[in-house]
């Protein structure tokens, strides 16, 4: 018997088949990983199960009974719950109010607060989902908000709980807590469908895995029979070679240096960056490890000239560039890969050709006397598309019509394809699939091999570990440690990142 079973599901958006004859089945009381690259159709499939989309064809069975799901209401009444990647909570209401909204326990027509609280505490105690029912949602952490969503689903009677990329927003310790909750939920027989594109997490927590690729089911296997390599092959359709790891010994020349750089916080709050000193040498990758929100954004903005430090100096190849704007910093030979590519990296409604020169459009290669050299610009764009393997129909299509991975390749191509000596790469592979991630990491390593100095700011600890020669750990705006990568253990990094310095 299956808790849920989906057969031959097809769903098209325009000409694109997001799901193309997909099969999926989850057993009662298992943690079922749903693995695939971005765009493989994972979320679409689960949104169909939860009634957010209607499948064009195919059938759904819940506990082996044919089910007609036309909306979330149907799904909920069949015992299916879903926690979305972006939470659907009312920020100004309390945890309790959010949880009971829509199914409020009533007494004499009024909300029975006492009963609501008791019900919430009962659920949260049973599964280790600690929350404070009286706290306002805007005051609690993202990890706690996720628990609120899970409790909400459970209180509506979810027997099958869909978690859409639940770890994307969590810190490493929060991920561990979530996994503990998932295991506790499995005990009484709740089925958990865990959508992810992270192999490590799939291997760690799931019982079985279904892999989707290009909208089709590649297969379902027991996790105990899987290896990370075999899963990658299922996801990508080929195995990825290990990075060509030519670690040239870093040279002595310091190309980028931050000296005692601070960024003041809002009045009364602590500094966002507090006396950060870093030196990046030619031929090395200096990785910044840290939990998101500990000053990485400010570090990126200061280093790329988007923000003036309130104190300290920034030195680029021997020249003081403190207070230079981004344009001038770029002119000095800094390639900038922004953490927010949609906001900072591209103009999504302009063509690839136009985007390919943003930031260098004033150079004599691309304009003369205030007029753009259309041919040079198109050639340049086509060059990036070819060299960086950007999947695009034409350089005239808009940047926004590319997938995230191809947008990022275009961007990385633009930045690394022009003369530079320093690379500031912030979250260079955020949200990208395995293939694109692999490719972009290779480009960064190639930059290093040719003697560039690379400052890598990434929330992905694995990425920092894989690429960096040295790692600087950032916590609450301070660099708490800088050392060669090999001298850190993962546990040590985890503790440093979460501010537990004394326990290291």
């Amino acid at each position: 018997m299956y808790a849920v079973r989906m057969e031959n599901i097809t769903k098209r958006f325009g000409n694109v088949a997001a799901n193309d004859g997909v099969h999926f089945a989850a057993l009662p009381g298992e943690i079922h990983g749903l693995l695939g690259e971005n765009g493989a159709g994972k979320s679409t499939l689960m949104r169909i199960l939860f009634g957010l989309y209607r499948a064009d064809s195919g059938s759904i069975y819940v506990n082996d009974q044919p089910a007609r799901i036309t909306g979330p209401r149907d799904a909920i009444s069949l015992g299916i719950g879903m926690v979305h990647q972006h939470f659907m909570l009312a920020e100004h209401l309390t945890v309790a109010e959010n949880i009971v909204a829509g199914c409020e326990p009533r007494r004499n027509g009024l909300l029975d607060y006492g009963r609501a609280r008791r019900q919430i505490c009962e659920v949260s105690d049973r599964y280790g989902l600690e929350v404070d029912p009286g706290a306002r949602v805007e005051e609690i952490s993202v990890g706690q908000q996720q628990r609120v969503e899970i409790i909400k689903a459970l209180m509506r009677g979810a027997q099958t709980l869909i978690l859409d990329e639940p770890t994307a927003v969590l810190t490493p310790p929060e991920v561990d807590e979530l996994f503990a909750v998932m295991r506790a939920l499995r005990e009484p027989g709740t089925t958990i469908v865990f959508i992810t594109h992270k192999l490590k997490e799939t291997m760690e927590v799931s019982d079985r895995v279904t892999v989707l690729r290009d909208g089709k089911t590649i297969g379902t296997i027991d996790t105990s029979d899987a290896t990370p390599d075999s899963l990658v092959e299922m996801m990508v359709g080929r195995s990825l070679p290990a990075h060509d790891d030519q670690r040239v010994p870093p040279r002595e020349a310091v190309l980028l240096e931050l000296r005692d750089v601070s960024v003041a916080g809002r009045k009364g709050s602590r500094a966002r960056l507090d006396g950060v000193s870093l030196a990046v040498r030619s031929g090395e990758v200096l990785g910044i490890a840290g939990v998101d929100g500990n000053g990485q954004l400010e570090l990126e903005e200061v280093a790329t000239g988007l923000r003036r430090p309130s104190k300290g100096r920034i030195v680029l190849i021997g020249q003081d560039v403190t207070g230079f704007d981004t344009g001038r910093i770029r002119e000095k030979g800094v390639a900038c890969i922004p953490s927010d590519r949609l906001k900072r990296g591209m103009v999504d409604s302009l063509s690839l050709a136009r985007n390919s020169v943003l930031g260098v459009h004033r150079s004599s290669d691309f304009s003369r006397r205030g007029v753009l050299l259309e041919n040079a610009l198109r050639e340049h764009a086509q060059g990036i598309v070819d060299k960086y393997d950007v999947r695009a129909e034409s350089i005239d299509q808009t940047m926004g019509s590319l997938s995230g991975g191809n947008q990022q390749k275009m961007l990385v191509g633009r930045e690394l394809g022009r003369p530079h000596s320093v690379v500031i790469a912030a979250q260079p592979t955020r949200g990208l699939d395995v293939g694109a991630t692999h490719y972009i990491r290779e480009q960064i390593l190639a930059s290093r091999a040719s003697g560039k100095a690379v400052l890598l700011i990434s929330a992905e600890l694995d990425e920092v570990l894989e690429l960096s020669d040295r790692i600087a750990v950032i916590y609450e705006g301070r660099i708490v440690d800088v050392r060669p990568t090999s001298s850190f253990t993962e546990r040590e990094l985890g503790l440093l990142m979460t501010g537990q310095r004394n326990e290291v």
Partner: protein, 352 residues
């Protein structure tokens, strides 16, 4: 935007116009007038014969400028509601300068007067541009405010300093050498329409080929990315607003020097505001401003003859204008009605 985009945009606008005329027909019929009579008068009044065509061109010319001004500012993400005020300062400045320079040769006189009008519009456009760049004041608010300032100020100046010694508050009539030459003798079609088309060509070139236009577009579509790409966002904002103001100022210059031959307080029936509608219909393309301006000019001139010969109130045509704007500016509503909903592959479904 490619050719296909322009073509479908044109088709879409044409359908919107037809739909508006259709509903207009229902309204005319319901008001007890003959639809046939109304629309034949509308058509003849707009396009039937030299005189009608000339009237349409005259009515379209100021809209060509104000529409272009608003469309240009759109490209920088700016909503210039101040074209009306910029038009007034342009008109008064040009009229006064053209009168003052009566000693110069006519060609020079006209050129300097036009430049002065454009300069005055640019100066008025500078204010909201600067306030936006410097302190983030929203240009919609500041331009609306400045409309009152400009309209009242020009009226004040005329009454107190530049008044024709007759019974009416207006400047004296421009001598013929200070006027824009007539293109078609006996009509009021002046060189202004040619200047308007040249302005469209120039700004289209700027927008599509120049570094300035590229940067303005980048600022308009994503100021954060523009900043990251080393574009001086504030400078472009001020420049775009000044260029827009200059073009709107020219609308006034051309009216004063080519149609009215003087400045008259409150002369504009809202050319600056109708320019917004023209720009909305034109969308991203500078060239599309021309047909859009002609459309509104034609509704205006045709509507006049409808009122004159069929006795149908002009207000019904104003309503049709409103409907055109509604259908074009509310694409979702319009396309839902027409079943033309654009398919958006991948959007909303691409992430998994």
């Amino acid at each position: 935007m490619g050719l296909r985009g322009n073509a479908s945009r044109f088709a879409y606008s044409a359908i919107a116009v037809l739909l508006a005329l259709l509903i207009g027909a229902v309204l005319i019929g319901a008001s007890g007038y003959s639809v046939m009579e109304a629309y034949s008068n509308l058509l003849m009044g707009a396009f039937g014969g030299v005189y009608s065509l000339a009237t349409t061109v005259v009515m379209s010319t100021p809209l060509l400028f104000t529409g272009l001004a608003v469309a240009f500012a759109f490209q920088c993400g700016l909503f210039n509601v101040g074209a009306e005020g910029q038009l007034y300062v342009g008109a008064l400045t040009s009229a006064v300068v053209a009168l003052a320079l009566s000693g110069l040769p006519p060609a020079l006189r006209v050129i300097i007067a036009l430049a002065a009008g454009a300069g005055a519009g640019a100066a008025l456009g500078f204010v909201p541009g600067y306030l936006k760049a410097k302190i983030g004041a929203h240009e919609v608010i500041t331009t609306i405010m400045l409309n009152y300032v400009a309209i009242s100020l020009t009226t004040f100046l005329v009454k107190n300093y530049f008044r024709d010694p007759g019974p009416v508050d207006q400047t004296v009539l421009l001598p013929s050498g200070s006027r824009l030459p007539e293109l078609v003798p006996g009509t009021r079609v002046s060189l202004g329409v040619v200047i308007g088309i040249l302005a469209v060509a120039l700004l289209d070139h700027v927008m599509r080929r120049s570094v300035l236009g590229y940067e303005i577009q980048a600022v308009g579509r994503n100021p954060h990315a523009a900043e990251y790409g080393g574009v001086n966002v504030r400078a472009r904002t001020v420049q775009a607003m000044m260029i827009s103001g200059a073009v709107a100022g020219l609308a006034g210059s051309v009216e004063a020097m080519g149609t009215l031959y003087r400045f008259i307080p409150y002369f504009s029936p809202g050319y600056g505001f109708t320019g917004i509608a023209v720009a909305v219909i034109a969308g991203q393309s500078m060239w599309a401003v021309i047909p859009a301006a002609v459309l509104f000019g034609a509704l205006q001139s045709g509507g006049q003859s409808m009122q004159l010969f069929a006795g149908i109130p002009m207000e019904l045509m104003t309503m049709v204008q409103g409907l055109v704007i509604l259908f074009v500016a509310a694409p979702t509503l319009g396309s839902m009605l027409l079943g033309l909903r654009r398919r958006l592959p991948g959007k909303g479904g691409g992430r998994a």
